[in-house]
Each structure stands twice: as C-alpha cells, then as structure tokens.
Amino acid sequence: MASIAHDDPVVVIIGSGAGGGTMAYELTRNGVPCVVLEAGRFLTPDDYENDEWAAFGQMAWLDMRTTSGTWRVAKDFPNLPAWIVKAVGGSTTHWSGATPRIMAHEFKARTTYGAVDGANLLDWPITLDDLAPWYDKAEQAIGSTHRHGRPALPANNNYKVFANGAERVGYKYYATGPYGTNAEPYDGRPASIQDGFNFQGDKNTSKWSTAVREIPRALKTGKLDLRPECHAVRITHDSTGKVDGVEYLDAAGSLHKQAARVVCVAGNSIESPRLLLMSASSLHPDGLANSSGQVGRNYMRHMTGSAYARFDQPVRMYRGETMAGIIADEAKHDPNRGFAGGYYMETLSLGPAFLASFIEPGEWGRSFTEKMDAFLNTAGMWIVGEDMPQESNRITLDDEVKDAHGLPVPHVHFDDHPNDVAMREHGYAAADAIYGAVGSTGVHHTPPYPSTHNLGTCRMSEKPEDGVVDKWGKAHDVPNLFVSDGSVMTTGAAANPTLTIVALAMRQADHILQEMSTGQL
C-alpha cells in the first residue's frame, strides 16, 4: 500500500463500494496515486459471518438517519431508511448479485413515458450504446454468469419453484442469471459452494465484490492509500472554485485534511448528497455543486416488494445462491398495464431471523407465527422495478438531530408515487400467479425492506439546471469534482443497479485518465 502525504494533492475517492472501489482500481492500475477514504472498517472474507444478525451488526450502516413521508419504512424502520454496508467494499459486500443491464428505452425515460404527473422524469445524457462497451467490461470484471461465454449456475430449490411457476404461466425469459457469482472458477476466485449467505459477505469469495477484487488489486499496485474508518465530512475548494481537499474524521474522531487534485464522491445516494450539502461555502451557499438545487433531490429506491409462498412440501429456500433466479418478462414498458416502466422478479430468501423482522413488520399473533411455522415449505421472490423520480423525495440535512460528531444527520423523505404503487400491485399479482401455478397454498405480500438500491440524488443531466453532474459524472459547477456512485443515475430503470454503477465508474475513470493526459485535470 502507498503512504501518501496529507499535503500531496492526489485523487481522493470517498467510498470503496461498486463506484469508489472500481474507480480506485481503474486509476491506480494506470499509475495514478489515489487516497480512498472509507467510513467503514476493513473487513475481509475471514471476518464475514454466516449469521444474519451478527453480519448485520458487523457491516450494516447503522449511523443515525431520520425519515419522513408516506413510505412504510418511515413507520417500521424510522432510523434505518437504507440497508447498505459500512465497510471496505461498501454495499458490494452484501449485494445479491443480479446483473441485468438497463434497457435502451429506459435511458430515455422522459421521451418514452411522456409526462407523468408528479414525476421529475428526464432523459439520461447518455444512451445504451454509449455505455455498452463498459457494460461488457463490467460484466467481465464481475464475472456475470450467462455472459461472455460463462456458464449458468445450477438450479437451487428456490429457483426450481420460481422457474417452474414461470414456465407454467407462460413466461419465457427466466434463467439463473445473469448473476455475479462464479459458477466455475474464474478470475482467481473459486466456484460457488451454494452456502446461502451472500447477503452477509461471501466467505468463499465466489461472489464478486470490490472487497475481493478491485481493492486488493489496487493495493498491489502500490499506488493506493486506503484509509478505513475515515469518514469524509467536508470537501473544500480554492478561490477559483476548484476542489482542493477533503476533511475527514478518523476512527478516534480526529479531524484531518487530505489535499486533492480531483475528488470522486462515492458514498452511496444518501451520504454523497449529505457530504455535498455539508460542504456549503460562500461560493456554494446551497451546498457544493448545487446551483441547480437538485443535490439530494429525485431520491429513488426502486419499486420493490417481496412474495413468500407456502407449499405442502419442503422447499428449503435458504440453501444455495440467494438471487440466482431472474424472470425478465415483465421488464418492459407496456402502457397497457396502466403504469410506466417495468420490473424484474428475482429469487430471494431470508432466514428465520430476518424473515421475522421483515415479512410483515409490526405483525404478531397467530397470523404472524403461521408464516414462520411454514418456513421450511416457503419459497420467496423479490420484485424490483423502476420508481418515479420526484423532486420532493430527497435527502436533506436534519436541522435537529446531530451525529456523534455534532454533524447534521441525513434526513430521508420519500412518498410512493401512484405509478410505484400500481407497479407493485401488478408484481404481487404476477407472483400469486407464478406460485399458484405450482400449487402454493398461500402467498404473502411483504412490503419493501429498507432501501438497498439508493439512487438519483446527484443526477446526470445534459443541462446544468436539470441536474448535478454531466454525462461523465462531473459536477456541472466544479471542474474537478466527480460523483462516482448510483446517485448519478438520471432515472432508476428496472435493473439492479450495481452493474451499471461499475460500468459508469469504469467509463468515468477512462474519462479522468484522458483529461489528466491532456492536462485538463
């Protein structure tokens, strides 16, 4: 590992997940020294635990957050709006692994869907064709199954129920992937042993994460100074408006400042806008890079829901790769369904520990315990689709609640859009049909969990007044400030976002290298 002086202006990357970890590797392997500030600890696969709550306590982002809005999470989990990871590797540590690409028309959401009441839709400043070369590279890095000649994972028990149901209702586009876990040894990591704990970090390292691929490789270049347990609190700029440093708190709570030539913000879609808002200055009175007023706005979390179906015979859904099962037939824009955008269905399993907290939050009595008693015979799926960006769904700095360091905690406001509600109902009905076709005796519709897909709070836009960053993820207002995570997504699309975040970060890294080589950065 490199040791970079605090007064040496280098590329400073904030966060080490899908965006930040990818950026760190792409730049350091091309010889560019980087400091990565990661708020979480440096966990390795040996540290990961095959235990839901123990792993949650080990890696979940549990810093105080507050919520409001009509979403049910604000009632059931008022201080846990998002279920993401605070550790080296970020949320790639617990990501499920599904890697669909965003579809061509989803990059043109405003044009395709037209005006939707209450939605702040906008076309992306890039197209699928623009991103396609980096999607290829991202799929190679992640090792997506079903892509570039890589084999499919075998069918596990939960998939057998899911896929047979899909076939019987007439769906065609189902498979065990694309999925970011090795079906056979690949890229120096082994094949899956189907241990069923990929939300807890994968001890076997068969699942791709920046913690097992990009960060270790970046460290080996000798160009990366990785600083775990270092939480960025302010980005500073010089009198010309260029950012020149990042202030951060170390594990002991001491304040440091790292000089910066370029800053890449990749703290996920709650912390990234929080950091920009906390970096307000006389030149940026409403927050850094916020002349549009869009920093923190258009917070998206994907339309989600789960369906847990009971059968007369055992399923044992917990055995095997958790999300190695995808149905794509409903991932289309079909205005005849009465809503814009589409959704995927994906296998999902929770153990009894998590299921009890999430299957129907707040419920008790026999209706609740019947669901738990049926655990062995239960199959599960997640429904994930595009949600509508709304200006009023946003991250702000809480006026009243401070964190342990006296800094304002992020406040997350979210109201479901009627389009989200209509899509969720459609998805539940599809799940009922799928499981009904293979003999389910009852399907429970589970409400959305705390958000795992957090998107859109620093969105890309063609025009500076419509968003925060340009088509490269560079701030419209600041020439050497980049946002490198899912918060740049202009709209949410239906696809699980990790593949897109990695592809965008690779594309952005190539752009930064180009700009550095021509002296523009």
Binding site: A155, N157, N164, D195, R319, G351
Partner: protein
C-alpha cells in the same frame, strides 16, 4: 444466550447513538408474578405449538435486558391478572396496548430474539451457518424433487419485447 443477545442489535436500537451513558439505565428486576405474566404474554402473542419453553424463556430474558426505559414492569402490572383468561382474551388485552412503548419493546425484541434462537431454527427447519460444512453444494441445495428440473439458461427463442405500443 444467543449470539444476537450478545450483539444486542435490533432495528429499534439503530437510532441510538450509543454515545450517551444515560440511555443504559437498569430498572428493577421483575418479580416472580411479573416474570410469569411476561412468559404468558410471549406465548400468546407469538404462539408456536411446536416450541418448548426454552426459547420463550430466553426471549423473556432478552426483553428484560432491553428494557432500558423501564416500561416493562408497569406495562405488565397494567395488564392485570391473566391467570383466569383464555388466550383469546389475553390477545384482546394485548391488542388494546399494542401501540404502547411497553408492547413495542416486547415486539421489537421478540421478533429478533425468538427467531434468532438456534433451538427455534432447528424446529423451523433452518440449518444456520453452512460455510464450514462446505455450503450446500453437496448437501442438498437442489434436492427439491416434487417439481421437474427447470431450464437454467436464458430463453433462446425470439428476443424479449422491451417496448410495447399502447393499444388504441
């Protein structure tokens, strides 16, 4: 004690910054009558015919441990004597207090503690940690035999229609 109780992590705890020692007070221990009443409440609110007493007793201990605000004893006293009541009547009594801090404490602790109990896992048919046993690759990840083996590859017919025209 389960691992979880050691970790003491539960959703309701997430708002705590753990920086204020004032929040970790220790109220008076429950007396025998209150202990018995709490156990009855747990068995009625989370009824599992297949569960023995052990998991409920461990959950009771977890609830008492989580009672930082000291709402438990008063809440149990307010329920009154449950001995002469059948389960439906106890359920009704709990329904009437389900929005109180007392019942929220019981619920938020129980959904974590009871279902993180390894004896409960065994009864429900969950096998827990698997990595050290080689996962389920050779231990039944695909042993479901009441449905045919489905296709695992993507559909190789016509490509998926991603954009559908609106019907007139």
């Amino acid at each position: 004690m389960t691992d979880l109780q050691d970790a003491a992590i539960e959703p309701e705890d997430l708002q705590l910054d753990n920086t204020d020692p004032e929040t970790s007070g220790s109220p008076e221990p429950l007396d025998d009558e209150q202990q018995a009443r709490l156990l009855r409440v747990l068995k009625v609110a989370y009824p599992h015919p297949s569960f023995p007493d052990g998991p409920y007793q461990r959950t009771s201990a977890a609830v008492q441990q989580a009672d930082a605000d000291g709402v438990l004893a008063d809440g149990l006293d307010a329920l009154g004597d449950l001995d002469g009541l059948d389960d439906d009547a106890v359920t009704a009594a709990l329904k009437a207090v389900e929005e109180t801090p007392f019942f929220r404490l019981i619920h938020s602790t129980t959904v974590v503690a009871l279902y993180d109990d390894h004896e409960v896992w065994q009864i429900l048919g969950y096998e827990g940690s698997s990595f050290e046993k080689g996962g389920y690759l050779h231990r039944g990840f695909d042993d479901l035999d009441w449905l045919p083996d489905p296709r695992i590859e993507e559909y190789d017919g016509e490509p998926r229609l991603e954009l559908v025209e609106k019907e007139a």
